[in-house]
């Protein structure tokens, strides 16, 4: 003990002063050493003396022979970190080892994480306020450590220091202060830069963003995972640095838990060879559609989201979802035949305005509902049986109107000619509204990511994105308004217009029938009864109203009876509240199991492949996909042969689990298909419009990869 004392105290004046200041020399702030040809290990105190109530640091000090190393808390591919057990006087407490940032120590194909030369593993010790100045604090430690060059030798030792208690604390000087300072140069600090974790194929991509990240300032970087399993320790980590951002490519480990944050240290070296160890713990973000590169978890930039929104709206015109509205539009376009240019122009304009107003209103409503905390998503209006029932009746009424049972706002004396000229622009506006309300529940390609971005954006940006989507949807019709001469290419007005109009009533009836089927799944038999009874009353009201229009006079009785029938229809609505949703739907479709987050998590934990189909009865695109792609023999065989579990989530009614799942992928609408390959690899998002070959290719490609 005396030897150690001398060695510490002599080198510097400060050390000497500390010695002189300590009363009676009754302390020893570095223990005797446990020595081997490989390592000289002691227990040291950073304080030459401590005051009652103070905290100070002690540490296991390791001085290693050249080429020998000891380990960090995560030792890497082999080895084990030192262990220290302290014995402290009554009332004295200690913290865990504050591990200094490690170095990367390659060994053949393996890599270890640890320290060479000299290191101090510090721990904080707190002295109770009741400690008596003039006494010493005896601190004992038993430690074991593995010291390795190419071969590893386990070593252990027992250590004791005695730290004097004084009225005021005194720092240790000299060699001990320098040893702590050297360890502090490696002390990890919370990252000043936000980090994200995405994935790209088999690799994980760590992205760190900060204004002071430049190619000149970041010469090297390495990520040390805090624990085994998440990242392959030995895999090279490709670094890319650009102004404001660096990305590091990591190989995923054998036991990556995608739901836990990836904690670890990012060691960043600058041009002068200085290294900083930054603490980070990014969470793995979802793979966006189209699998971006390093930006995997990043939201789309605004201009790109706006472009996607616009294209999505445009393509929506071609989705099966929008079918009921196509009929109305076809009729409306036909009305243009022979119309004055100004009429055509205004009609296109009003339709566009209708679409935009509807989009704005729907988006505002959606944002408001979500702001209040409800888990609703795009197309949420169809999750309300009342809304669906009203749509049934509205579509039926439009059908009856097209069939000629009654007219809107005019007597029935009109011909094709008068239809073209006399239909108000209110009709165009209304058609635009209807197009949005009916068509938007289904997402088109490009819309998924854009809607996800929109709902995560500030409200003003969100509304702008929805308007872009609306413009896209309205574009074909708006073009008519801009270039009204296109309408001149239509045949001359005539009886064909009436036929077309009457024919177009049938898609309306078909759509109403489809929505009744949706209701079956939402409310069961009672709901269907309500909807159909209401439908009969709508028919009656339309017929009576038509009679009144035919009679030429005021026909108060007919009009009154029609209004009564309409009122009776609406009076049926409250009945829907009593209509309960039928029990959990039988997993009827193609051997699918009902989706639950718990089931998915269990399957993923076992590393089993899972195909998830998020669908809803009101999503026609979903139904077409199920019929045309998922139910085919090829897809069924691919599922069965590869042992893929097929989970089907039904969003016909609200389901927070599904909303949550979709949001996890930055989505808010249907259809949505995602495949989780075996072995906990990245989920793959499939496009919203499927074919048998797209699905089988994705399923088999991912399974067959070794």
């Amino acid at each position: 003990m005396r030897l150690a004392w001398t060695r510490i105290a002599l080198p510097t004046l400060a050390g000497l002063l500390a010695l002189l200041l300590s009363p009676g020399g009754a302390g020893a702030i570095e223990s005797t050493a446990q020595q081997s040809p490989r390592a000289t290990v002691t227990l040291v105190s950073e304080a030459a003396a401590v005051a009652p109530g103070e905290s100070f640091r002690i540490g296991l000090r390791q001085r290693l022979a050249p080429h020998w190393h000891t380990y960090w808390t995560n030792p890497g591919d082999a080895g084990t970190p030192p262990e220290i057990a302290l014995t402290l006087p009554e009332g004295v407490t200690s913290g865990e080892i504050a591990w200094p940032g490690p170095d990367r120590l390659p060994f053949g194909p393996l890599v270890n994480f640890g320290y060479e030369n000299e290191i101090v593993l510090p721990m904080t010790v707190t002295v109770p306020p009741t400690a008596q100045p003039g006494r010493t604090l005896p601190i004992e430690a038993r430690a074991s450590w593995l010291v390795c060059e190419r071969e590893c030798i386990p070593e252990e030792g027992s250590f004791r220091i005695e730290v004097p208690v004084e009225a005021t604390g005194t720092p240790a000087g000299g060699e001990i202060a320098a040893a702590f300072a050297a360890a502090d140069a490696r002390r990890p600090v919370p990252s000043p830069w936000p980090s994200r974790l995405g994935s790209e194929g088999e690799a994980l991509v760590l992205a760190v963003e900060g204004e002071d990240i430049t190619p000149a300032a970041v010469k090297g970087a390495f990520f040390f995972p805090a624990a085994w399993g998440a990242v392959e320790h030995a895999a090279p980590q490709a670094l890319q640095v650009e102004n404001g951002r660096l990305t590091l490519s990591l190989a995923r480990g054998q036991a990556l838990d995608a739901s836990a944050p990836l904690a670890g240290l990012l060691a960043v070296s600058d041009g002068t060879g200085q290294t900083r160890w930054l603490e980070l713990a990014p969470r793995l973000g979802p793979l966006p559609a189209g699998g971006g590169a390093g930006a995997a978890a990043l939201a789309l930039p605004f201009w790109q989201a706006a472009l996607f929104a616009f294209l999505g709206g445009l393509i929506l015109n071609l989705m099966p979802c929008v079918f009921p509205v196509l009929a109305i539009k076809a009729t409306a376009v036909a009305r243009m035949s022979g119309g004055a240019l100004r009429q055509v122009r205004l009609s296109g304009l009003f339709y566009t305005i209708g679409v935009l107003v509807a989009f704005t209103a729907l988006a505002a409503l959606l944002l408001a509902v979500r702001a209040s905390g409800a888990a609703v998503g795009w197309g949420f209006q169809f999750q309300s049986p009342v809304f669906v029932t009203l749509m049934v009746w509205l579509l039926l009424a439009i059908g009856l109107n097209l069939s000629g049972v009654f007219e809107v706002g005019q007597s029935l004396s009109g011909t094709g000619q008068s239809l073209a000229t006399q239909q108000g622009h209110g009709g165009s506006f209304f058609t635009g509204l209807l197009a949005v309300v009916v068509a938007t529940p289904c997402t088109a390609p490009f819309m998924g990511a854009a809607i996800g971005t929109a709902l995560a954006a500030p409200p003003a940006l969100a509304l702008a994105l929805f308007l872009a989507m609306g413009l896209g949807l309205a574009l074909p019709y708006a073009l008519l308004g801009i270039f009204p001469r296109i309408a001149r290419t239509l045949p001359r007005p005539g009886a064909w217009m009436l036929r077309l109009r009457q024919g177009m009533a049938f898609p309306m009836y078909a759509s109403a029938a489809w929505l009744v089927w949706v209701l079956v799944q939402q409310t069961g038999e009672l709901g269907v009864l309500v909807a159909l009874a209401g439908g009969v009353l709508i028919g009656l009201a339309a017929w009576l109203y038509g009679i009144a229009q035919h009679s030429g006079g005021r026909a108060l009785f007919s009009r009154g009876a029609a209004a009564l029938a309409l009122a009776g229809t609406l009076a049926l609505l409250p009945q829907l509240r009593h209509a309960a949703a039928p029990g959990a739907q039988a997993a009827s479709t193609s051997g699918a199991e009902p989706f639950t987050a718990a089931r998915l998590a269990a399957l993923r934990a076992e590393g089993k492949p899972v195909f998830v189909n998020m669908t809803a009865a009101w999503c026609i695109t979903c139904k077409v996909n199920e019929r045309a792609a998922l139910a085919t023999a090829g897809v069924q065989a691919a599922l069965a042969q590869n042992g893929i579990t097929y989970l089907r989530g039904d969003w016909t009614n609200q389901d927070p689990q599904i909303t949550e799942f979709l949001r996890g992928f930055g989505r808010d609408g249907l259809p949505f298909y995602v495949f989780f390959p075996a072995g906990k690899r990245d989920p793959v998002v499939l496009p919203p419009v499927l074919t048998e070959s797209i699905v089988t290719a994705e399923l088999t490609r991912n399974v067959s990869t070794p």
Partner: protein, 219 residues
């Protein structure tokens, strides 16, 4: 049900759409690269191997098809390995495994001149002096078998099913130390995995952290 009538006209429309917009959406997914994965994976066929054992016979995984196979990476000079042999923990496991009709292959991937490298005669001498009862000791001085399995430490344990699929890889137990006293406290990951497999049950923890000395591969 009128839904089919609303669907049918759209089949053609969908085709056209796929050529257009959706095609753009699909393309990036198809272009995404999938680098070949070298590391073995649970549930996938275990890497095939062919290596000389300490008695000069050639051992292949193929020839052992139909049996459960255990691979143990070892290095008799590694203190982590010594913990399990000095305590007889490893020999007890070997008797249990071979007694159940499974094959136990101890693999030595130390390169010549490195710690743990042995000649065939030395390997046999080690087995008899330690009363070890592996089915065979594979000599892998070039590290081919070790690298194929991604063996990192000694010990590093693998269980392969009768159908040749990998069922377990990782540590022998849960406490990474050289201290014999820790054997009692540790969760015996490998033993649990082997017993589950032998009983035809799923392995609860199929991948665990291997611990020990690094495998002394040829540089």
């Amino acid at each position: 049900m009128t839904t089919p009538t609303t669907r049918l006209p759209f089949t053609a429309r969908r085709r056209a759409l796929l050529l257009g917009g959706a095609g753009l959406a699909v393309a990036p997914a198809l272009l995404r690269g999938r680098p070949a994965q070298a590391a073995p994976a649970i549930g996938q066929p275990a890497p095939a191997f062919s290596a000389q054992d300490s008695n000069g016979r050639t051992q292949t995984l193929e020839a052992l098809r139909g049996k459960l196979v255990v691979l143990e990476w070892t290095n008799h000079e590694c203190p982590f390995v010594q913990k399990h042999y000095r305590s007889s923990n490893m020999q007890t496991l070997q008797r249990e495994v071979t007694g159940a009709g499974a094959a136990w292959l101890s693999v030595i991937s130390s390169a010549p001149g490195e710690q743990g490298f042995v000649t065939p005669a030395q390997a046999n001498e080690l087995s008899s002096s330690r009363q070890a009862v592996p089915t065979a000791v594979l000599l892998d001085p070039e590290g081919n078998v070790g690298r194929a399995y991604g063996a990192q430490t000694t010990p590093h344990m693998y269980v392969i099913g009768a159908d040749g699929r990998l069922l377990y890889m990782g540590g022998i137990d849960s406490i990474a130390s050289t201290n014999l006293a820790d054997l009692e406290k540790a969760t015996p990951y490998f033993r649990n995995a082997f017993r589950a497999v032998a009983e035809g049950k799923p392995v609860q923890q199929a991948v665990t952290r291997p611990y020990g000395c690094s495998v002394k591969y040829a540089a």
